[in-house]
């Protein structure tokens, strides 16, 4: 189905199932521990052996020699695979550094070997007997030092390296009020609960991998390419995923090494990346340095806005596109952005929840707060004054929907923003200095092809199959809701099967595109199935009504079970998009309000209240969507206050590589969270009239926290995370 024109009334608009706060249909499996995650799939293939991954002990250089003898002789060892004996390997499209390193080492903890043994303990013990001599090379591990040599990268996913409208330099110079500030965001880790894990089994030259991956088709394609085998010989299965956040978008070392280990050991092999490897072996959100310049009239109207960002990556890696939101969020006639990429030898940087905007909003939304300070204008009012209903670079291009102002106003009213004292460090509650902060939330809505297959059986049950994944987001449930709505059956009559490369290729889970696109693909397949059923029954498909498990047309009515009495009826289709994403700008909006307390003695920062107001198209399942947003808000608190992959610039690694040293929020850090969705349907986005929401929730949160800390203390911290050591000198005596 091609989606070329704005959606009109369709069966989804009945909202009998869609739009209801339905609990997750797979929830009971998860709460009872019976949803099998990759590493637990003991039953899918017999005789599973265990792999243990060895990561490089150096950040840059070469392997001079590997001695496997002692390890080979260790109890239970079946095989050891290194780059030396793995055979010729290709490389997937979507990873920059090779997933099996050697002799060249691209980054710390790059996998250099897998030891396969009969038990996990044997594999782990033998791995310690592998002797590797390294020749350490000189690496580049310091973004600030590499900033001057950073290059304009090839236009990537996030847009061109340079953009310009009007005359930024002249307008900025002429502006009566100017802000010029530089911000820094650190490297961050996805730190999902389930590590990357895979079980690989060969059957002749055909490979099946049970894994944990957000993008099944990408993974299967890159796996085939890396192994140099036909794509059709690779099957990836990933029905349940214990968190991904972008860290599982791509083929990673666990999949490849399980396959290589299984080939060498002639047995199925299971691999889970050890937790201490997760931080340097896999991808991470790259650190940025961001310079923002804003010129404004005294009434607050922005006349010039410029945003430059520097990030680093391994050779072949992409930049963090931290400037992208600045092209769209606020009005202003004169604009520029620049994205620069420094060559670094740290582990590979790549997408993490809201790549681009999450980092960019951390800086931009402090800058707006600083500008409000300079202007003496309330930061909510300043944002409203600079709202735009059109793409500021292309004013003929409207936003499909844009309720930023409504989000800000609604949030301000609900949060009690009018009680905020604009003068910093005025409000006390016992030993706590209290402050409030606000930030806009912004994240683009991406549309991309997504397919599904729908089957009606003679019991009247509907089964949906698509390689879409559920990374804890609620995909199973919203897909079931979509099929139930379309086919006129109760939710219980729908089965959803996900995450298998034998199923039609979906959009997958990433970039907050999963919800809207995957359900739109199911919509397309259901339209086709309705036609097939109508045709089978001799109904005019345009007049057929599907409700209560029955198809009606005129005075005829047939149950769905009856319609399929002669055999399953199956339809497969994809949603494909025309030019609406070009003619309209599709984005999602929100406003974050945060109240913090800063301990006047110790400068410890604790969040006291949070509110997010979001406008993100039709909310397919308010319960699942709310969970996404409050989870993202939690992640935003982590970004604001603690998450920091610390670079050891001498040894070239993220040194705090476990969950004791890389802190993410715990329950005690998260107070009561409120979040509301504004009513919105977006007929430009898809037949579902929905948009993404899971990444919107993190964009702006950290800046709202930072702005609240400033309001509480008067200290403006421009390098994240905001920790007490950065405040303590300014605490009251």
């Amino acid at each position: 189905m091609r989606f070329e024109h704005p959606a009109t009334f369709n069966p989804i608009d009945q909202l009998k199932v869609i739009g209801h706060p339905t609990s997750r249909i797979e929830g009971p499996l998860k709460t009872t521990g019976t949803a099998p995650y990759a590493y637990e799939r003991h039953d899918v293939v017999p005789n599973q052996a265990y792999g243990y991954v060895i990561g490089s002990a150096i950040g840059k250089g070469r392997i001079a020699a590997i001695d496997l003898e002692a390890a080979k002789g260790a109890p239970g060892v079946l095989a050891i695979v290194t780059a030396e004996n793995a055979g010729k390997l290709g490389k997937g499209e979507r990873n920059a550094a090779p997933l099996l390193g050697g002799p060249e080492i691209a980054h710390y903890h790059q996998a250099v070997a897998i030891v396969v043994a009969g038990t996990f303990e044997q594999a782990r013990a033998a791995a310690q007997l592998v002797r590797i001599d390294y020749a350490k090379g000189d690496g580049r591990f310091d973004l600030a030092a590499g900033r001057d040599e950073a290059i304009a990268p090839h236009p990537s996913f996030g847009g061109p390296a340079d953009t310009a409208v009007g005359d930024f330099a002249a307008a900025f110079a002429a502006a009566p009020v100017q802000l010029d500030a530089t911000y820094a965001t650190p490297d961050q880790s996805h730190a999902m609960m389930e590590p990357h894990a895979s079980i690989a089994a060969w059957d002749g030259d055909k490979l099946t991998v049970w894994t944990s991956n957000q993008m099944i088709a990408w993974g299967a394609e890159d796996m085939a390419k890396t192994l140099g085998i036909p794509r059709d010989n690779v099957r990836l299965v990933s029905p349940y995923i214990g968190g991904g956040f972008g860290g599982k978008l791509f083929l990673r070392a666990d999949v490849l090494l399980a396959a290589l280990g299984a080939r060498a050991a002639r047995r199925p092999v299971k691999v889970a990346l050890q937790r201490p490897l997760m931080f340097n072996n896999t991808t991470h959100r790259p650190a940025t340095i961001q310079r923002i310049r804003i010129g404004a009239e005294r009434d607050g109207r922005i006349t010039a806005i410029g945003h430059e960002s520097w990030s680093g990556n391994v050779s072949g890696g992409e930049p963090e596109t931290a400037v992208s939101q600045t092209r769209l969020l606020y009005a202003g006639a004169n604009r520029m952005t620049a994205t620069r990429l420094a060559a670094l030898d740290l582990p590979e940087g790549n997408a993490m929840r809201a790549p681009g905007e999450a980092s960019g909003m951390m800086a931009l939304e402090i800058a707006i707060d600083e500008l409000a300070d300079k202007l003496g204008i309330d930061p909510v009012a300043l944002r409203i004054a600079n709202d735009t209903q059109v793409d500021p670079e292309h004013p003929q291009r409207k936003f499909s929907q844009r309720q930023l102002v409504q989000c800000l106003n609604e949030g301000a009213a609900r949060f009690g923003w009018s009680k905020r004292n604009p003068k910093p460090s005025q409000v006390r509650d016992g030993r706590w200095l209290i402050g409030m902060g606000v930030a806009a939330a912004f994240r683009n809505n991406l549309v991309t092809k997504s397919a599904a297959r729908v089957r009606l059986d003679r019991q009247g049950r509907v089964t949906v199959e698509t390689d879409m994944t559920d990374i804890g987001t609620g995909s199973y449930t919203i897909i079931a809701q979509t099929a139930a709505e379309m086919m006129g059956v109760p939710l219980e009559e729908v089965s959803v099967r996900l995450g298998d490369s034998d199923f039609p290729v979906s959009c997958g889970s990433g970039g907050q595109w999963g919800g809207n696109n995957s359900t739109a693909g199911v919509y397309a397949a259901c339209v086709k199935l309705r036609e097939a059923i109508a045709q089978k029954l001799g109904f005019n498909s345009a007049e057929a009504v599907f409700a209560d498990g029955v198809v009606r047309s005129g005075n005829r009515s047939v149950s769905l079970a009856q319609a399929a009495a002669g055999g399953d009826l199956v339809a497969e289709d994809a949603i494909e998009y025309g030019d609406l994403a070009k003619t309209y700008q599709q984005s999602t909006f929100g406003a974050h309000f945060v109240e913090v307390g800063v301990d006047a003695d110790t400068a410890e920062i604790r969040v006291r209240r949070m509110l997010a107001v979001c406008a993100a198209g039709r909310i397919l399942n308010p319960k699942a969507a709310r969970s996404q947003v409050i989870g993202a808000m939690t992640m935003g608190v982590g970004a604001a206050l603690m998450e920091d992959l610390v670079v050891d610039k001498r040894h070239g690694l993220f040194i705090n590589h476990d969950l004791a040293a890389y802190e993410v929020p715990v329950h005690a850090d998260i107070p009561h969270q409120d979040m509301i969705f504004l009513d919105e349907t977006d007929p430009i986005s898809s037949p579902m009239k929905a948009k993404g929401v899971a990444e919107l929730g993190i964009c702006g949160v950290a800046a709202a926290v930072a702005n609240a800390v400033h309001n509480a203390t008067g200290v403006r911290v421009r390098d994240y995370p905001i920790t007490l050591d950065k405040l303590i000198a300014a605490m009251p005596v």
Binding site: P276, V646, R650, I655, V666, L724, D725
Partner: protein
């Protein structure tokens, strides 16, 4: 993890004798620290002596009015003991500030005292660490040292002792009771239990090879207002950046020990005479010889401010 042999000890004396008589032996109780380190091969014992079966899990009243805490009393049980809560509140509070509920259920009193540093360089076997591999150097010096020691450190090691409980015990002046391989027992004031790193940071206590902690004796209650204040980036489940254990008497005198600043719980009795003059005067003496790094210099004002807050609260 290296292969190891395993035995269950039948008595404290037998455990100590076995430990001394077996090469590279270790005691195991709760295992919350040791097992993690064994998986990473930071600890590689050849033999484990499981002491969990020894009847050292009681809290008994002593003749001098104090309490004897068995070495195997779990952190959860110790923190919840009514007598501890009433008479040694600083200890109960320190315990509850540490780790998580699950860990406290497993972790023992003696094990908590003997837990090893959380320095990230200690935890990465690819990098130099004199504590893990004597003579290899200290990667924390010149590296990421935000959490590290500001006082009592050496050119060989700037690690901190991570325990909260031990800081409270230091301020309470507990006495550690042990049995040695020859069956003799001795009592070690906690001030003498932990060592500064010097040039042998791998040796962390004054315990002799095979010597087993059997109990910790709390002196008779010292009264006063007792506080334990732990400062950290996240609200729970994090090691202290700085912690303060304090006992403040009605007349303004008292005791103070710091956590998170040194290789051992940090207490300088002479500094306590400054208590009536306030936190600044106390910390000026307590941390007089501090040599912080750029990353952890904040601990000095933080310690002073935290102590000031504790004193203010204690004095109402």
């Amino acid at each position: 993890m290296r292969s190891f042999s395993y035995e269950r000890a039948t008595s404290p004396g037998a455990a100590a004798a076995a430990a001394a008589g077996t090469a590279n032996a270790k005691f195991i109780a709760g295992g919350t620290n040791l097992l993690d380190l064994m998986k990473l091969e930071i600890e590689t014992p050849a033999h484990l002596i499981d002491v969990n079966g020894l009847a050292l899990d009681r809290i008994d009243e002593t003749a001098d009015g104090g309490l004897r805490i068995g070495a195997l009393v779990r952190n959860t049980d110790l923190a919840a003991d009514r007598r501890v809560r009433r008479d040694y509140a600083v200890l109960s509070r320190a315990l509850l500030a540490g780790a998580s509920g699950q860990l406290r259920n497993k972790a023992t009193t003696a094990g908590n005292l003997l837990q090893r540093t959380r320095c990230p360089y200690f935890y990465d076997a690819n990098l130099p660490c004199n504590k893990r591999k004597p003579g290899s150097g200290c990667a924390a010096i010149g590296g990421f040292s935000r959490q590290h020691a500001v006082i009592g450190a050496s050119e060989a090691c700037i690690a901190t002792h991570p325990s909260d409980m031990a800081v409270a015990m230091r301020v309470l002046d507990v006495v550690v009771e042990t049995v040695r391989p020859d069956g003799a027992t001795r009592s070690i004031p906690i001030a003498d239990l932990h060592r500064l790193p010097g040039d042998s940071p791998e040796i962390e206590t004054t315990l002799q090879p095979g010597e087993l902690i059997t109990a910790v004796a709390l002196p008779k209650p010292v009264g006063g207002t007792q506080a334990y204040r732990k400062v950290r980036d996240r609200a729970s489940y994090a090691f202290a950046l700085v912690s303060v254990a304090a006992i403040v008497q009605g007349d303004g005198t008292g005791r103070v020990a710091l956590g998170g600043v040194a290789h051992k719980p940090w207490r300088v009795e002479a500094a306590e005479s400054e208590l009536p003059r306030g936190a600044k005067a106390v910390t000026a003496r307590l941390l007089a010889d501090a040599k912080p790094t750029k990353d952890n210099a904040y601990k000095l004002p933080l310690a002073e401010r935290t102590l000031a807050a504790v004193l203010r609260e204690a004095r109402g």
